[in-house]
Symmetry: C2
Subunit: 363 residues, 2 copies
């Protein structure tokens, strides 16, 4: 295949190995695995994950879930508060077709969802999002029991349990001790579930874990499910965090050197429209250097990007020249995938082009 | 129109005013206007610009030019070095259909292009990119005459002239004196063109100017063309730079408050997949606060983003609640448009959905 650059290439063999490894961890711990599909955005990869034992998938947005459902994925957790009438109508419609669970983190949101459920005559399954200190969505931990009790009373909703995304920060400080972080994440959520049960609530799901913490959180008795996403491809951020090695990274962007204006600098044909900038150089807790890891020239640094230009600092003696091809593991693969209309799946000598079905599905 | 959020809304009346204003500046200075289409990525807006007097458009990548050409745009400058054989073939094919000029900044690139031109029997028009200190692509200023002389000897190429993108930095230091920067940009390029002419080269095009510098660079006698892009919509970065007022910004992202976990924080349904992060908080020379300007609550700060979450710091007394709708002018509109599969053109009470035709056209 005459591949025009920049192009995002996925090594299918490595994807299968990454899928098998995480499936093995979940199985060994006796927890369900529900991978976050935001990383790949591809029904085809979701099917590989389910084929390897995943119970279903996770998405962030309703639109992603709709696209996955159209392609036959029939068990989806939407880990996001859905609060507007139009989206709640769509959720009710989706709930008639497949098994779907939605996130909720406020009484206002739960009340609106309950009204839709009652009006449409569709019971809607929910999990309460709990914030362990990341400071995103999620009810603060200390208010979770009270809110869960209020939600459980809403007749149109089926209260399923609780979930969290811990993140890499606690109270603004980086967490690099993944094992301790994962164990604490699991323990806090199981303790909360126990308090809810003591108060008379039925809590079936205790869902935790992202790629760096899943394997540790899964070990905590009482955790029922983990939701890692990035592990399917991994990326440079995960390698720096210690979740994987660079060899386990299954995705790299192929670029071409288009200019070498001076001995110490070359320019490649991918910039901020090719490499995500949401995890950039200097981002704590990673202290990343540059926007990606250049496989052919590990000492070179992709130090600046504009939309279509990537400026690479190279040793002056580097033999790289205009027309040369490089492969770069991006810092953050999920948002990088979101920039690409298509990816190229490589399996040995074979390469297939796949449209990124759920790219840009933000509604 | 029942608009699901997040959604990128474009005020068509303001777009027309922005287009008319820049067209007036170019006409008054007697220079051609060739807007960079990377901002809107829409053939429909390109036609508005041409209808208001633009000579043609500029694109960064060949794929953008191909999409614009398919939609009837017939005069395009691709301001990017095209160096690989496959892309040069596409360039030759495009050159048979429309008037196209390509960028070049190295002898290797020019030589490869020359070979394609001779093999295909299609003369290819080129402009030499000159770097005034931005440190991206472009031959260093002091080497430009020598390279231009070498390119002009290549029989398959038509050497048209020179162009530059000055950027907001010179030698790593921010430039906020736009008038001085624009005048210098024009003067340096005209002086270079004169030296080339004195050496016997024909230099028809002296093309300069981005949105912040175009109106000043256009005043320099000898400049023949300006290439602003962002002015069509403007954005918060341009407002901070002083190129426009916030009132002139024609594009805003409509978002919904999905959570208010504590009095001082709310979360909206757009994050780094909705707002570009390549010009983020603290980016010099802008010293921007947050990822955008929130129209309904100017004192609130969109201070953190993850892919689908935008964390907004609000005054504790703010009455905003779950379900409320906000409009946010993004820091950088060009890369923000690139995240959206569609935009919504608003003209008075009418709203139309338009696919972003050249979104993600990075090859």
């Amino acid at each position: 295949m005459n591949l025009e650059t920049p192009a995002l290439i996925i090594e299918e063999g490595q994807v299968r190995r990454n899928i098998a490894k995480m499936a093995g961890i979940a199985a060994a711990c006796g927890v369900a695995l529900r991978p976050h599909a935001k990383t790949h955005k591809l029904p085809e990869i979701a099917r590989l994950q389910i084929g390897a034992g995943s119970k279903g998938i996770t998405t962030a947005k309703l639109a992603e879930a709709e696209i996955m459902a159209e392609q036959g994925i029939d068990d989806i957790f939407i880990a996001y508060p859905i609060v507007t009438e139009a989206k709640l109508e769509r959720l009710a419609t989706l709930s008639r077709r497949i098994n779907v669970i939605a996130g909720v983190d406020s009484l206002e949101g739960a009340t609106a969802m309950n009204e839709t459920a009652l009006r449409r005559g569709v019971p809607l399954q929910v999990r309460l999002e709990v914030d362990l200190g990341f400071g995103r969505t999620g009810v603060p931990y200390d208010h979770a029991l009270e809110l869960a009790a209020a939600i459980a009373k809403l007749e149109g909703l089926q209260f399923r349990g609780i979930y969290t995304f811990r993140g890499f920060f606690m109270n603004g400080a980086p967490t690099l001790e993944l094992e301790a972080a994962g164990l604490e994440e699991g323990r806090l959520m199981v303790e909360l579930a126990e308090r809810m049960r003591a108060a008379g609530l039925e809590v079936r799901d205790v869902s935790v874990g992202s790629t760096p913490t899943a394997e540790y959180a899964a070990r905590v008795p009482g955790v029922t499910e983990v939701r890692p996403g990035t592990y399917v491809y991994y990326d440079r951020m995960q390698a720096v965090l210690g979740s994987c090695t660079l060899d386990e990274c299954a995705a790299a962007v192929r670029v071409t050197v288009v200019s070498r204006p001076e001995p110490g600098r070359l320019v490649v044909d991918g910039g901020s429209k090719t490499f995500a900038t949401d995890v950039g150089p200097g981002a704590p807790p990673l202290h990343l250097i540059g926007y990606g890891h250049i496989l052919e020239e590990p000492d070179a640094v992709l130090e600046r990007v504009s939309e279509e230009h990537g400026m690479v600092r190279v040793p002056e003696a580097s033999p790289l020249r205009v027309g040369d091809v490089l492969h770069i593991i991006p810092n953050h693969i999920c948002s990088t995938v979101n920039l690409h209309s298509r990816v190229y799946l490589q399996d040995g000598g074979q390469m297939r082009e796949l449209p990124v079905a759920a790219r840009g599905a933000i509604t």
